[in-house]
Amino acid sequence: MTVLDHRPTAPVPGWLPGATSPRTDPSPLLPDSSPVRVLGTPAFQKADPELLLDLYRRLVVGRRYNQQATTLTKQGRLAVYPASTGQEACQVVAGSVLQPQDWLFPSYRDTLAVVSRGVDPLEALTLLRGNAHTGYDPVATRTAPLCTPLATQAPHAVGLAHAARLRGEPVVALAMLGDGGTSEGDFHEALNFAAVLNAPVVFLVQNNGYAISVPLTRQSAAPSLAHKAVGYGMPGRLVDGNDAPAVHAVLAEAVERARSGGGPTLVEALTYRLEAHTNADDATRYREDAEVTAWREHDPILLMERELRDCGLLDDAVAAAATEQGEQLAARMRAEFHAEPELDPASLFRHVYAEPTPQLLEQAAQLDAELAAEAGR
């Protein structure tokens, strides 16, 4: 017999209320047992047709963006590109569900979300091109830098949302993570802080099945990643991440809940990364073709297009217009990235401190002299 066998089934007489007693009924916080869907359900008939067509157009353009960026890595024009091919429904919704004053906190795979937010598609790629860290203005675009360390942007989203709420401004922060990121300590600390502070934050976990090569079963033993919310005292929502209107419905509801003072929500979107982790990865080493093929049939664009055509919202002309918009973006990317970027070595020292230290001034002068000597050779 262990001590656990002595655990009482009823409250112990004299049990003090307060800190040690259950504070929350967990049942409203628990995610639905199956992911929320809109496509193929009666909810689709009630959805706003303009929103549906806008999502479709964004999906098609986003897919082309992913393809072109992947091609650019093969040509050596981008240092690396973690494609979100197959995850476009999450990406385009996350980028478009926020209001202008809200903040997006993307991870390194969320370039397309950043573009959907309104950031210039070429500026969104400077980190991955290798000519600058963050090409866009995070303050003007209310979009944090693409975050490469896992989950570390999640507490930033909490702090920003907390600060905005202290000022009485209706700002919501949306933090994007992958399934692997949910294993990091910063993820858990962020959720805990958000719930304790009742911060207006939405955490969107794109569960694409693998953290590089490690499958979800080796990442978490929880019934779902959305279940992790309950332990922190916030609702968890589970959504079909390839069903764009469903992702929109769930995220919009979570954003609205946060904005109206209801606190944070954790959303798990079930999706799949159709390509490898990055161009440097060989996905055939750790997953079966059959699995990839099955997910190709659950492609977010196919699902959307089929349904839109069935109900007469989409015809060939609308589809062709979306394709053409994607081609124009791809052409712009090719034109820009085939030109050599202008680089300024002096920029190395420019933004380390508000005022450079004496040591940095000396080193900047040293680099100047080295460059002058090279030029004179």
Partner: protein, 335 residues
């Protein structure tokens, strides 16, 4: 803890802890964007009482008791800074700051650089550091070399009551992140504090004692030890200058080199480990820049290269007057 109020020109006796408390209070009164956060900083006033009374005066939002998670505390402060606030974070003890190291190194230190200056990080991270208070393990580390080796951070450490006030005010006002190392064994040291007095700016070393024979270069908790050693050295015919760095980053090459060139002999004293430490950096810089003015090698007097020892043994580890005097004797170097 009694409360200091800012009355122009008012001078009164204060402990370093009270001076730090006054600096926080005056900064919060002046700038509503200054927010404190950390574990126990609210009702308790911090385990060292540095935030005593601030939650009562400014409210629980501006002096925020957080969940116990250092990465979460600093990560949250980053988001607050992104939204225009000026957070001051308390890390309860030196070794408790390590869980926040990734936030510090990857984000606090680099955010300005990553965003081409668009997201400065005006965060002050207060870390009580160092030994000599009889703390058990993980309560006495000197981690300044980790921070000083991270571009993007300022690293500041006061050794006097006046500097505790002035440097903390300046750190909070800085648009760059500052790791503010508080020598916890000096928390109860007392001196006159004039909150209206001008303070040498961050990045400027100050000569605490002039001398003609050699200079002891030091900072933070080792300053009083060096002053005591300089006093004792007089009996042996040594007239020692004592230079207080006050700021490790930015580093005051200019003052350090001026003093070393004029005296030709230097000892660097700090209580953290010597290998790869700040003293090694100083000795190298001095040697590179002042070699022809040196009459002897630059000698380091530091703690041993060991994990911080149990409190009943720490006096063997910490550089004391005798170890400094032994080093001074070695400065009579004939080549």
């Amino acid at each position: 803890m009694s409360t200091l109020t800012q009355t122009s020109g008012a001078t009164r006796t204060s402990t370093m802890a009270q001076a730090l408390n006054a600096a926080l209070r005056d900064s919060m009164r002046e700038d509503p964007g200054v927010h404190l956060l950390g574990e126990d900083v609210g009702a308790l006033g911090g385990v060292f009482r540095i935030t005593d009374g601030l939650a009562a005066e400014f409210g629980a939002d501006r002096c925020l008791d957080t969940p116990l998670a250092e990465a979460g505390i600093l990560g949250t402060a980053i988001g607050m800074a992104m939204y225009g606030l000026r957070p001051v974070v308390e890390m309860q003890f030196d070794a408790f700051a390590y869980p926040a190291m990734e936030q510090l190194v990857s984000h606090v230190a680099k955010m300005r650089n990553r965003t081409a200056g668009r997201l400065p990080m005006p965060i002050t991270i207060r870390i009580p550091y160092g030994g000599g208070i009889g703390g058990v393990e993980h309560h006495s580390d000197s981690s300044e070399a980790y921070y000083a080796g991270t571009p993007g951070l300022h690293v500041v450490t006061p050794a006097t009551v006046q500097d505790a006030y002035g440097l903390l005010r300046a750190s909070i006002a800085s648009d760059d992140p500052v790791v503010f190392l508080e020598p916890k064994r000096l928390y109860w040291s007392k001196a006159e504090l004039d909150v209206a007095a001008a303070v040498e700016p961050v990045g400027k070393a100050v000569l605490r004692r002039t001398g003609r024979s050699a200079v002891l270069i030091t900072y933070g908790p080792s300053l009083p030890v060096c002053l005591e050693a300089a006093q004792a050295a007089q009996a042996e015919g040594w007239d020692l200058a004592v230079l207080d760095l006050r700021s490790l980053v930015p580093f005051d090459d200019r003052t350090v080199c001026e003093v070393v060139r004029s005296l030709g002999r230097a000892v660097v004293v700090h209580e953290s480990t010597g290998f790869g430490g700040v003293g090694a950096e100083i000795a190298a810089r001095v040697t590179e820049r002042c070699f022809h003015h040196l009459a002897a090698p630059v000698i380091r007097v530091t703690g041993f290269d060991i994990p911080y020892p149990p409190p009943m043994l720490e006096h063997h580890h910490l550089p004391g007057v005798d170890r400094i005097l032994d080093a001074v004797a070695r400065l009579q170097w004939e080549g």
